[in-house]
Symmetry: C2
Subunit: 392 residues, 2 copies
């Protein structure tokens, strides 16, 4: 519809409570990220107008742009809109043109208005005037006003000398602008959880570097293929930012664990070694934390007791678990929204080293004893030195 | 309605994938927690029948019991139901009695059936037979079958020799049975976030002990009053379990920080001292982790950089942040569901020690330098020794 010429972009309410310097920094970052997202999708814009609490984007393809911008972290919602002058007559004309395209008999509608600036009318005046004009216009179709439970909402935003009229709103992903909070190292496994954890870290403003521990020959090639695909999918959420995948050869470490240590401790020992290597990498690359997909009690290695033994090795380095208290169903729902569910669900070879009866409450002393059978330092060094970086 | 005599309790899907021993343990725990919840609300039951994937509760007040049991962690949904023998005729009779109480003309309905056991009919037979009987029964009211988008769903569960018919389903809170994962120490402040974080830890099966750092005279008495109320509200979610509130006098520590250290570091230093004391308490009481309401970037002390400096002091002790990647709006929505929002939102005196311009990226070296001006060890010892336990 050619009438639509603008996209209204609404910030998260959280951005509103920041100090003015922080807010300005976040706003600028948001605009930069919006531009990168649109450019990655080849969507053209002609102007971006940043105002308090809103960003107005002029574009020839407002519906596609509104959908694309709803995927930018920090955006709470977007609406394709028709712009006009902030005059009652013009607003009503624009609204009539918009509802003219909406067919249906006996529809219940409401007009909602938000006004900023000095005008000769109030928001209530706009609602009443536009509402009465629509009633008149749709009399033959039997439309009626219903402020409680409308089927059609005509939104009006009046901003100083401009007004915007819209009927559709796309829910945004929310969160904070990407790049507003340091960089984290996200462990990624090929399963459902870790990509969601990485995405959630991005949603709260963190840029990410992915780290995969390749346990071949204890798994096949499919796992790594899935991880590469998942990384590509995650990178579509952060256009304009580097999102690299580090692959660490971990088969030798796992082989040592399997051959030398009690089988029931395999998973706990494996995770401890992975985290040691991750802390080494994250510190060296000056990153601000490690992110994992752990959720309490989801797997044997994720009981609270085993998490305790595993956390031990990070020292004071921040270990972030965004999914800590998520139910599996919530994680799966998010994975579907993010677009990683289908990739994560593809079959792979699993881990052949996983014991049948893993310990669900490994004690620190038995773990320490088992690790005496390993040359921990040289194994970790071997992993970190053989790290390979893939651009995705 | 006297027809209803049973509550169908559905487990989370997650419980289904556990090993048989873990599942049995979780099932027993769930039943124990269900009994405690009903007893705390004075709701009577006559029998609990535990079967694979379902628990059937006989009770004279099925609607209240179904609502109460939907609040037990590990329950995915509940339905008040009418029981009968697993015979087509009886099932149809029962269904007709149930829909008889439902008035309305031209309603779209569907029959759904789930069957376990050996019977002379299939689930599909049940749907067809019961559906045709309802159509006949409601012919004058013009009811019609709509499997896609029904307004009325008649559910039938056939279990061996029993059948259950229901029309209402209450969504459960989900998660894992309380008590299935160790105990955690939850820091609670009087704000919106920390009670939600504590509740989420419970939802994933952890029992909780609450710890509040009382910063009087830097705040007034209202904060502690709110914390006591919040603790009481949280304890209604874990009947049968001890949920105590520890109050630590922290005014002296904060006074030292305010008087001796740079103002911009106040919050970071305060949090480091709190976490040191928390680790001391949690270790002494053999708890499995510390839980906080931190969310990345929500406050100045919760930037990723400041979290790094703060995490440093816990060493390898597990620090859990269930809200890490939550948006404020999500946390608020949960707080409303849990019943803590209203209490947390009451005005209190706030913290008078909070600086106007807190550091958003404190460096480890400046923090270390500032802490040299404090007698960290004796301050922490003073806090831990003066801990008071309140039963809530």
């Amino acid at each position: 519809m050619e009438l639509l010429d603008t996209v209204i972009v609404r910030h998260g309410a959280e951005l509103g409570v920041k100090s003015s310097t922080t807010r300005l920094r976040y706003d600028r970052l948001l605009v930069k990220n919006m531009k990168a997202m649109l450019s990655s999708k080849g969507l053209p814009i002609t102007e971006i107008d940043r105002r308090f609490g809103r960003i107005y984007v002029k574009t020839p393809c407002p519906v596609d742009v509104a959908k694309a911008l709803s995927m930018v972290f920090g955006v709470s919602s977007t609406s394709p809109a028709a712009s006009c002058k902030a005059l009652l007559e013009e607003i009503a004309d624009t609204a009539l043109k918009l509802v003219g395209a909406k067919s249906g008999r006996g529809l219940r509608f409401a007009v909602k208005c938000r006004r900023v600036g000095v005008h000769e009318f109030t928001s209530m005046d706009v609602c009443r005037y536009v509402g009465s004009k629509i009633l008149e216009f749709k009399r033959d179709d039997g439309w009626l006003v219903d402020l409680e439970n409308p089927e059609v909402v005509v939104g009006v935003e009046v901003r100083d000398e401009d007004a915007f009229v819209y009927m559709e709103t796309y829910r945004g992903v929310g969160g904070l602008p990407l790049g507003s909070q340091g960089r984290v190292l996200c462990l990624i496994s090929g399963g459902i959880d870790s990509p969601v954890a990485s995405w959630l870290a991005m949603r709260r403003g963190c840029t990410i570097t992915l780290l995969h521990f390749n346990i071949q020959p204890f798994t096949g090639e499919k796992t790594l293929e899935k991880v590469v695909e998942l990384s590509k999918k995650l990178s579509t959420w952060c256009p304009g930012y580097k999102c690299s995948l580090l692959v660490a050869p971990f088969g030798l470490v796992l082989k040592e664990i399997v051959e030398k240590c009690p089988a029931k401790l395999t998973c706990v020992l494996c995770k401890r070694m992975m985290l040691r290597a991750a802390v080494r990498v994250a510190s060296k690359m000056r990153m601000n934390g490690i992110v994992t997909g752990d959720s309490i009690g989801e797997q044997a290695s994720q009981t609270l007791r085993n998490m305790m033994v595993i956390s031990e090795v990070v020292g004071g380095f921040p270990l972030h678990r965004p999914l800590l208290c998520f139910d599996k169903s919530e994680t799966e729902r998010l994975a579907r929204e993010i677009g990683t569910y289908e990739i994560s669900s593809r079959p792979d070879e699993g881990c052949k080293a996983a014991p049948k009866r893993p310990a669900i409450a490994a004690s620190p002393s038995e773990v320490a004893k088992a690790e005496q059978l390993l040359d921990v330092e040289s194994l970790i060094r071997g992993v970190v030195e053989r790290l390979v970086e893939l651009e995705v």
